[in-house]
Amino acid sequence: MITMGYDEPARVPRLYDARDLPWIAKLLDVVEQSAGEPWRVLVERVEHAALHVHASHRAAMLGALRRVLGGAGQRARIARQVRALVLGAPALEPSDREARLARAAESLGTTAEDVESLLWVDLAMERPIALPAGRPAEAELAALANLEKIQRWVRRAHDLQLRVWDRANELVRTVARYGLIAQIKREDQATLLDVIGPLALFHATIVYGRALAVLVPLLADHARFELDIHCRLGGDDVRLKVAPPVLLPPVVVSARRPPSIAERLARELAERGIVVEHEPPPIASGAHLLFPNLAVEREGARWFIEVLGFSTKESLATKLERYRQAGIARIALCVDLATAPGQELPPQVCGFTKHVNADELLALMSMAYPDLDSPVRSPHGDRRSGARRGPPSSN
């Protein structure tokens, strides 16, 4: 990765804080007054309410409000069924209309009024405002709006540097889990995550940007952090600096997370009788830190495996060089071919689509370094698993 040099000083962007809570409170008054009305009505009312703030702030709070109040809800699931039953030829007479609603109500086991109330309940702007948990707190809205703001900048980033002074593990593992291209360094007491942004990746930028944005909510767990974002906003490249105090929503720990590619690979290796260590301790390589996903014992030797979601030719070369500098010879990198199109893979790299084929990886580990001083190609020729195959190596 090329470390960027910045001529412009970083800007500290204005995020929502205690100064904003009074106008957010007024906005919430409008929300309460609009309970039961369609969202469309609330949006119009908020647009024209005397809040003395720019339209973009109103829109930010409405976005946050949508996240607080949740989606369409359980009743929305039958809205389409209701429309299929009820909407047809025009009911020009009141008796026709009542009869059709009554028939639908009978079929659904509910009342005609309920049927009518369900007609547009799944449509974002037409469903009624509901506050089942009462009036949201002003700070909650501000925190969610801040989160959305920072995530938007991150999604438009060329690169970002995140420094944390405690418990970097979850951030690093999230970087690995989402396959972000990053270098991790130790800097005095801090850990620095130097992450490539979607705009520097040139491909799969939307997918990568979403993945990168997943880091932002985790910042709420850190009393001290510095996030430097070099991003493109409104056609201009800017450098933004975010540091506490920042209102952010508390981190939500998801109890049910699908197993990562590395976890699935670990399970498959274990099924083949191989001793697998999950998330071995970080490896220092000069000032950098390397975070392999797995360490395995194979024929008396210890191997490290790192699964990379996104990659470029340069990032792979750098990664391998860092392991070499750390004195790690037995390393296997697994790269997602869906996000690394057309790359020629070095011998230590196993391509995969969707999941890593454990047998192919083991074959690579056996054949890539029969003698650690003279890497040779696998007898399988191309070591990539799955259907997508890149051009043959020119080496």
Binding site: P38, R40, E44, H48, A50, A55, R80, R83, A84, V86, L87, G88, A89, P90, A91, L92, R97, R100, L101, E116, L119, W120, L123, A124, M125, E126
Partner: protein, 447 residues
């Protein structure tokens, strides 16, 4: 890439050539390909051109063209196969495009605005072609000698496939420069370019630059009764009741107070400047609120409500499209009469079911504010009822085009509901101008 073979040659003198520091070479935008070849030929420069072979060996079995389609095609070819053909909705623009592809016999990229049109075009091309049709968009990534792409997909694919086509066709070409970004055309070498539209924009500068000038155009009235169904345009005058009238006048007064203050301050100020300015002051916000409220009042007052019922009762067996000024009115009508709304919020599968129901007659009435205006393969309809709309002549022409698909003995009817003595009358007058003002405003109606 341009490279000089001899010292005296200066690639930088070629118009549009730019030095690429990364590649260390001179580059010319793809759309300058034809002009560059002509320039080099004139200068007797030997050229190695690896892009020449874009011919296809496709055979086409096309139906006979109508007189105006033949004329349009001939005019386009006479203009060196560059230009825009403007024909009304339902008059067979796609067939003109198919004939152009068949006559030129070159690989062709067809650009369309929506996924619905992507599917519609791909099916139309497949029906007459001997080879599979490529699709880019809506989850498909297949490139073939004849490929259809949405504007959005073309933006990302053009750098990779821009050298493969000899002809590019743009459907709904009035979107070029906005929805259809001009960058797409800069990445395409295709010398032949055909734009299709029912409603060319007033300023055709962007179109001319990237596709060519409007080479042929006919209006709805030129074809009504022959290639298009004959139609009757009926304006239905609506009267506000006393309460509505009082409220309308009060809201207009409040709006005028704010707006005239702005006009005094900024005589040349545009509407969006007024909106920006008004949102800063209490008086301005009151004016904006009044503006929004009186438009909501005019969108669906009691008179329109009863007129709509009466018109639907008058044509119980005919397929009818109801057009409204906004989604709120579309939903209000749908709820009131229990008919299907078609809006951007209704998802594709449900929309398709609704259109199937419309085709079969199970759902003979659809109500929409904008979605049905263009970009949808709407089945044949007989009656259009314009409950509300803007002053846009282009949108109005698109709406009317929805009922003009010809059928033996068909005579379509378009009703426009217009609230008398309000701003709505001026909207109706302005959009009528786009149709040649064929009917007097005080035509007979329902109320």
């Amino acid at each position: 890439m341009l490279e000089a073979e001899h010292e005296a040659e200066q690639p930088g003198d070629v118009p549009s050539a730019a030095w690429d520091t990364e590649l260390r070479g001179w580059r010319v935008p793809a759309d300058q390909y034809t002009a560059l070849l002509a320039l080099l030929a004139e200068a007797n420069v030997r050229v190695s051109d690896e892009l020449r072979n874009r011919d296809t060996c496709l055979t086409w079995a096309l139906p006979a063209l109508r007189w105006y389609q033949n004329t349009a095609l001939a005019q386009w070819r006479a203009a060196n196969a560059r230009g825009v053909v403007a024909l009304p909705t339902g008059s067979g623009k796609t067939l003109v495009a198919l004939a152009a592809i068949a006559q030129l016999g070159v690989a062709t990229l067809c650009l369309v605005p929506t996924r619905v049109l992507l599917d519609q075009w791909a099916r139309a091309l497949a029906a007459y072609s001997s080879q599979p049709i490529g699709r880019l968009g809506d989850g498909d990534h297949v490139v073939a000698p004849i490929t259809v792409a949405t504007y959005a997909s073309a933006i990302s694919w053009a750098p990779r496939i821009g050298d493969r086509f000899g002809l590019v066709i743009v459907d709904e070409a009035h979107h070029v420069g906005a929805w259809c970004p001009t960058e797409i055309f800069e990445m395409l070498v295709a010398p032949a370019r055909l734009g299709l539209t029912a409603t060319p924009p007033g300023d055709t500068g962007v179109l001319a630059r990237h596709l060519g000038p409007v080479v042929y155009g006919l209006s709805v009235d030129d074809l009504a009764g022959t290639a298009l169904a004959a139609y009757e345009l009926v304006t239905v005058p609506i009267t506000l009741d006393d309460d509505e009238r009082r409220r309308y006048r009060e809201l207009r007064r409040r709006f005028a107070a704010g707006y005239s203050a702005f006009q005094r301050k900024t005589p040349q100020g545009a509407w969006n400047e007024f909106v920006r300015d008004a949102s800063q002051t209490i008086q301005g916000r009151a004016a904006l609120t009044a503006w929004r409220d009186y438009r909501a009042l005019l969108a669906y007052p009691a008179g329109k409500r009863s007129a709509l019922r009466e018109l639907l009762a008058r044509h119980p067996d005919l397929r009818t499209l109801v057009f409204t000024a906004d989604n709120a009115t579309a939903y209000a009508i749908a709820r009131e009469l229990l008919v299907m709304p078609i809006t951007y919020e209704i998802r594709r599968a449900e929309r398709n079911q609704a259109l199937d129901g419309f085709r079969s007659g199970a759902r003979p009435v659809l109500v929409s504010s904008q979605v049905l205006d263009e970009g949808f393969d709407v089945p044949d309809a007989d009656v259009a009822i314009v409950v509300g709309g803007t002053s846009s002549a282009r949108r109005h022409a698109q709406r009317i085009g929805r009922v003009l698909r010809p059928r033996d003995g068909k005579r379509a009817v378009v009703y426009e509901l217009a609230v008398s003595e309000t701003t709505e009358i001026s909207y109706v007058e302005r959009r009528r101008a786009g149709l040649g003002d064929r009917a007097p405003l005080a035509a007979g109606g329902a109320s």
